[in-house]
Symmetry: C2
Subunit: 238 residues, 2 copies
Amino acid sequence: MSGDADRHTLHNRVLAVLGPAIVAGEYEPGHVFTLERLEREYGVSRTVVREAVRVLQSMRLVRSRPRTGVQVRPDEEWSVFDPQLIRWRLAGSGRMAQLRSLTELRAAIEPPAAAAAARNAPREWREPLVEVCERMTAAGQEGDQDSFLRLDIEFHRRILRLSGNEMFVGLTGVVAEVLTGRTEYHLMPRPPRAEALRLHAHVAEAIRDGLPDVAQAAMRSIVGEVDEALSEAAEPDR
Amino acid sequence: MSGDADRHTLHNRVLAVLGPAIVAGEYEPGHVFTLERLEREYGVSRTVVREAVRVLQSMRLVRSRPRTGVQVRPDEEWSVFDPQLIRWRLAGSGRMAQLRSLTELRAAIEPPAAAAAARNAPREWREPLVEVCERMTAAGQEGDQDSFLRLDIEFHRRILRLSGNEMFVGLTGVVAEVLTGRTEYHLMPRPPRAEALRLHAHVAEAIRDGLPDVAQAAMRSIVGEVDEALSEAAEPDR
DNA sequence: GTGGCAAGAATAGTGTTACCAATGATGTCC
DNA sequence: GGACATCATTGGTAACACTATTCTTGCCAC
């Protein structure tokens, strides 16, 4: 799914523990590590710790200075769009909060992306989008949840790609994580609501037919509906 | 401006050359470095090269495997929201393309952010927003371009913060870069247009008065206008 | 021969250790 | 209260052992 963050190197294993711990707020902002402490704690060599810290630093989770050590930064300064950081948050206790903020982000991005797709998509990719939508609908009606999720992700991914804006494309991972997360935590109506399926079809057809306003309005209905569903499930985590 | 990426460490200096070079497309996707080659090329030790590569890897610019080397990934796989990557692009030849895609992103995000701010902003921060807007207007009318830019950034930053959504907050850096970039490359009307200033005031007052729809509509006018201005200046780079 | 597979060699990243240099926070002296 | 010594901690170098992955080779079956 993600590329190479999963390679079983030592510094990746250190990262996979240290990163989530910091993200979960187990260390106050301002808390300082020393490399030596981390070396002992994880039983690894200096090089490994340094490389792990370097990555955390590039995510702006920590800063590192001589004589002071490695200091945890306040969360307002983190690179919250970093895919790895998002995954750590979704895996931890902050998952509902993260899911909510990401859903609001989707609600902002996807309607303009759909409009852009209706304007910019190359001819040859318009009809295939409708086909993906149809297969998704079929899977939903048959109750095949795995295929439905896979095709739902594929549908939204294609729209972001067809928008022609690299920043929108860069959010495909986020959308995939949100949809997967909603399914995993049973925040997805089963079977999918008929109205939602129809709205997806409207989006696909409007993009195919080059109707930006229609595509945007239909997409707004989709993500707005999702937003409400999530707000209803709003409760303190756990 | 950014935190600690500017500390004059050796690996940062290597990063500051290698990163922009890759981002500028000086190496085909698939191109492989070896650590040894980089060591010699930059005249630094292995540790330094390894840490620089580790950062590039976390940005998904490269992947690193034994027996193969360090391989440049195709640009669709890059973490395009990484602030450092954005800065590299804005500094290089891709700056107009990057500016356009970021402007479209702003156009998607800021109106919903303004609406959210009108709903969620704490009482005590509403009036100050209007004050910032007034000082910005004054600076604009006096022709004080530096102060105007600074206050314009401050204005948009506050709205994103007041939205209460951490993902929106995470885009403050992007907005700052875009506004600064537009000023530097003289894509900003001077003096600022009176209508634009009035729209900013409408946004601030609508947020103060808790009117999400008004705030959203006014913000949409602001970013829509900007979008047009940028499209007019659309020419192949250089 | 040709295709497929297994064993082994070659090659580059990965991990360890030891040591010295540079930095900047902290306290001290005047 | 400003200049300066101090010292802990990161930053950087070097040399080497380990290990994963790819490529080659050679065998075997068809």
